[in-house]
Structures are given as structure tokens and as C-alpha cells.
Symmetry: C2
Subunit: 336 residues, 2 copies
């Protein structure tokens, strides 16, 4: 049963486990440093569909189906699915899940959705709401560009601070088990807004949210960065990572440099793949977590990973209306 620890943190007494996970990615993602880690690589980004939105739904459905299959279960065994994505009305999740028959809770946490859905899955298992719960998310470079920026055909230039939305989906299946990485503790984030208006600099917008949630987690649990093998942020990229370290140091007097990693810096070869400040999109941290990180935890290479999903809660319209970018970060402590 969940128990509150400090002001914003919740401990999961039964330590629900990740029973299995799957990551399905596009071609560009398969050419990066994690190329051998993924369950499936989609060479045709359209997935045989006639719109990018439908392609993303198919991508997410593939990850959910794969994760369930890898866990040795069927969709009927999964009692609850938490899923969300970047598209208007979270359509890639609803359309992706509509044929599965699993009770469905749609989430919106932008690029923090993997952490958010994972923590909700963990809390649901821990509190007896359901015994097996799926957490899923996706993003697609083409549907995201179309929605948030310019049509691909326009061939717009990207500033150096921009990140590349990953074409990727990840799903984790959470249940009770003695093996697999456990979800030990979670922190649900508060919205921060430091006044960043540049939708091509999400890293800067999200860094304060990551800082606030990491600081809350460490305070609430009375721990320090060196207690963890890794503090893994979602997708701050190069700009956001530098800002996070600076903010943690100056504002909180905490040095995370020795243990910090960022999914946005892990997915691509930044210097070679023309992705500017790194990767982003819900699928970025989902694909990194559901492949590389979980594998290394299972292998005993990583024991304690504080996964901090970061999300920029702007809308497709809000920057055009002069709005600043509210952001959020949710933390999940995984231990093996």
C-alpha cells in the first residue's frame, strides 16, 4: 500500500516490478548508439498507414502488443492501461489501444508520460487497484513536426537549441513479482514556469521542473545523488542538461554531475545524426528506459535508477499566443 514520505513523495510498500517491456523505434533511432537494444525497428515510418497520426497509433500499438507478448501474457491479463502522447486529444494512444479491450486511462504529461504512466501503474499495483498494469507512450517525428512546427515539406531550419522528436514507442508491464526492477518510490511533480517562450528550446523550459522534482525527491527521502547509480532525466538534451546541473548546484546546492544521464543525449549520436541539442518526444525516454536501462538493471549493472520524466506542457497554439511554457517532471525510483 502506498505511504507518503515527506511532502511530495510516495513509497510503494509492495515494490511492484516491471514484468516486461518493449521498445519499438524508427530508422534514425536504430542508427544511434542504442541500435542493438530495441525490440523492433520500423524502416517504413508510415507503418503502411496514410497519415502520420495513424502511423504513430500503429507504432504505439506495436509496442503494447510486444511488451504483453514478451511478458508471456495476453491483453486479457492486463487489467489497466495508462497511456498518453503528444498529439491533440492524445489520439495515438486512444486509437492505438481501441482494439485491445483493456480498461484505459488517458494521460497527458507531454514528454514526461513514460514516467507518469509508469508511476501510475506502480501505484495501481501497490494499492490493489489492479494486479497487472501497462504503461505506454509514443511519439513520431513527422506527426510532431506537423503538429507543433511546420509541415515537413516546408523544410524549415532548426535552431541549435532544438531537439529531434524521436519516432519511438515504449511500453512497460507492471505487476507483482520477485524479479525485475522494482518501483520503489515516486514523486508526482508540480508545474513550474520560468518564463521560457521559445518552443525550439524545450530543454531550457523543462530544466527547472526536473530540478524541482529531483530536489523534492532527495529532500523527502533524505538521500543524496551518490545514493543512486543514475539520475536519468527524460529529454532535456544538451541545453537543458547544462541548465539542470547549474540550477541544482546554484539553487539547491546539490551536485548531480557524477550520476546524471539524460535520455535525450543517449538516443542519437548527437555529433553525427544532425539532431542539434539531442532527442525529445514521449517516445525518447520510453524507448531508452524500456530497452537499455531495464536491460542493464536486470543484468545487475545498474541497481538504483532515479528516472525523472520531463514534459513541456505547451500546446500547439500556446507559443503563437505569446505564452510561456509550463513544464513538469515526475520521478520514479527503480531498484533491482
Amino acid at each position: 500500500m502506498p505511504t507518503r514520505v515527506g511532502k511530495y513523495t510516495i513509497k510503494l510498500d509492495t515494490q511492484p516490478s516491471i514484468l516486461g517491456s518493449a521498445a519499438v523505434v524508427g530508422k534514425k533511432e536504430s542508427e544511434g548508439p542504442l541500435r542493438d537494444e530495441f525490440d523492433e525497428i520500423i524502416d517504413d515510418g508510415t507503418m503502411g498507414e496514410d497519415s502520420w497520426e495513424k502511423a504513430e497509433s500503429a507504432l504505439q500499438k506495436r509496442a503494447i502488443t510486444k511488451a504483453i507478448e514478451k511478458t508471456g501474457l495476453t491483453a486479457a491479463d492486463v487489467k489497466l492501461l495508462f497511456a498518453g502522447d503528444l498529439l491533440s486529444q492524445c489520439s495515438s494512444s486512444s486509437f492505438g489501444a481501441r482494439e485491445l479491450g483493456i480498461p484505459f486511462i488517458g494521460l497527458y504529461g507531454a514528454c514526461s508520460t513514460m514516467a507518469l504512466s509508469l508511476l501510475m501503474a506502480g501505484l495501481s499495483v501497490d494499492s490493489g487497484i489492479a494486479d497487472i498494469v501497462a504503461a505506454s507512450t509514443s511519439s513520431h517525428f513527422c506527426s510532431a513536426e506537423k503538429q507543433f512546427r511546420n509541415p515537413l515539406e516546408y523544410g524549415g531550419q532548426r535552431p541549435p537549441t532544438a531537439q529531434w522528436t524521436a519516432t519511438a514507442a515504449g511500453t512497460a508491464i507492471v505487476g507483482t513479482s520477485q524479479s525485475g526492477p522494482h518501483i520503489e518510490t515516486v514523486t508526482i511533480g508540480r508545474i513550474t514556469d520560468f518564463g521560457v517562450k521559445d518552443a525550439n528550446n524545450m530543454g531550457a523550459a523543462m530544466a527547472p521542473a526536473a530540478c524541482s522534482t529531483i530536489a523534492d525527491f532527495l529532500k523527502d527521502t533524505g538521500t543524496k545523488p551518490s545514493d543512486y547509480d543514475m539520475i536519468l532525466t527524460g529529454d532535456l538534451g544538451a541545453v537543458g542538461t547544462a541548465l539542470l546541473k547549474e540550477l541544482m548546484q546554484k539553487q539547491e546546492n546539490i551536485d548531480i554531475s557524477d550520476v546524471h544521464a539524460d535520455c535525450g543525449l543517449m538516443l542519437y549520436n548527437i555529433d553525427e545524426q544532425d539532431v542539434n541539442a539531442g532527442a525529445s518526444g514521449c517516445g525518447c525516454s520510453a524507448a531508452v528506459l524500456c530497452s537499455n536501462i531495464i536491460r542493464r538493471m536486470k543484468a545487475g549493472e545498474l541497481r538504483k535508477v532515479l528516472f525523472v520524466g520531463t514534459g513541456a506542457l505547451l500546446s500547439a497554439l500556446s507559443p503563437l499566443q505569446g505564452e510561456t511554457i509550463p513544464s513538469i517532471a515526475h520521478a520514479v525510483l527503480l531498484s533491482s
Copy 2:
């Protein structure tokens, strides 16, 4: 602590209560049959803002603030906020909540969001995740028309099956208490899709979801419609209500006619207010539940209300891409 009952239903052992609620509505809503029930009426639909999206954020913030105030609490007492809306990237919720400092979980359930956020709030309190939790949602006629249909200036004709998106926001504060309506049991819905493609006939798209969730709830709890004072659907309107009754009868052999009511038929004077098939939008069921229904439960006039929020999970784009409309319904049994 939550306990599963049957296949899809969850019983809340500690019976969390609605400590307080608020409904804030626009001018048209204040001219309907529930005119004296609302906490605040907004004569100026712009809320003094320069876009409809910003107006809706302000509307939702007003409802959250009012509900907290009416409960005699401050924002700092609220440990968790579940909120969502119809806009792309759920922006009215994130922008509405960004200054409150409350840990935030964004939901997407379209017009089922009041039921979804309320059941998540109930489950969170019941399982000890948080002691005081807010559930909130909003919709705005002008932001919804702009996003899903045509610019207002276009003056498009509405077919008879269309519903009128309510300009309204509702918030409920859930905690542990001996008084106030209790959240007794909840059913988390599965996505249904009967192939309806007409985005001007949401009632028809959502009726099968309501049927499926009501049938699941009754089977799981071993109860019948006459065990309830009211089975209150979210916003099926006239077309969806007729279809729901027919589906329940023909498909499930259950007659709900004696106890059925629909928020979409309660908010406006359908014959006089030019709303065609009734009201819709997240704010419709939120405003009806958070005013009239909760008041009548507190007064002992209604004892057992099965509130079934219904949502059409289409996106702004999906009907233009020839897609059918997936729908969902979530049920919350309130008892006083």
C-alpha cells in the same frame, strides 16, 4: 484500500467523500434550468483574456480556486490535482493549474474527464496516495468550436444531432470525511468503437461506451438499475440517450429508463436554447455534477447516483482522415 469486485469494478473501502465542489459557467448555461445552482456565472466569455484558450484556462482556474475555498482549505492542503480538458495538449488544465503549486496529473478522457478525474481522486484517497485530492475539468464553447469545427465567424449550421459544448468548469475536492457524498465503487471503462464517423453525432458514438460500462458495473456488483436513484450519463444528449436505452434493452436486456438521466439533457432548455441535441463538453457533466447533483445528494434527495462520464476520443484531425470515433465511459457510484 481499493478491492476489485468482479471483472472491471473496484470498491473503495474507506469511502472517500466529496468535501466540496464548485461549478462556474457561462451566460448561456446560466439561462438554463439549473440557473440557480452554480457558484459563479461568467457574463464575459473572454474572461478578460485575448484568446478563447486563455479564457478557458482562467475558467478552470476559477472553479479549482472556488472549490478549494468553499471546502475551507488552501491550495497547499491539496496534495494532488487530476485535471484534463478537450483542448490540444490539455492546455486549459496545465495553464489553469500552473500557478497553484499542486502536484499535477494531466488526464485525457474527453467529456468523460469529470468521472475519470473523480474516480482517480477517490482511488488516490482510498489507497493513501494523498489525503486531499482535487478533480477538475472544463470546456468552452468558443475554444471547442475553433478546434473541432469551424471558426465562430464562419457561422456554420449545426445538424440536429449536434450538441452544444458547454462553457463551464467543475471541480470536486475529495478527502476522508463522515459527511458529503461518498465514492463507493468505480468502473474504469474500455474503449468501444461502433464505427460512427459523424463528429456532429457524438451521442451515437458514445452510447455503446456508456452501455458497456453500465453493464459491466451492474454485472460486477450484482445490482440492478432500481437499486439506484439515478444512473446519470455524462453528455449523450437526446440522440445518444435514446440509443443508450435501446442498446441496454436489446444488447444487455436491462431497462434503465426509470432511473436514467443525462447531464447533456439537464443543462439547457433544449426546446428554447437552440442547442439541438443537448449539451456536451467536459464542462457539461462537471457543472451538473458539481452543483445540482451534489447539492441534492447532500440534501438527502438523492442517495445513490451512478455517475457515468462519457467521452468521444476523436481528435481534431481524425474525422478529417476518415476515422471512426472511439469512445469511453467511466462510472463512479456516489452514495450519501
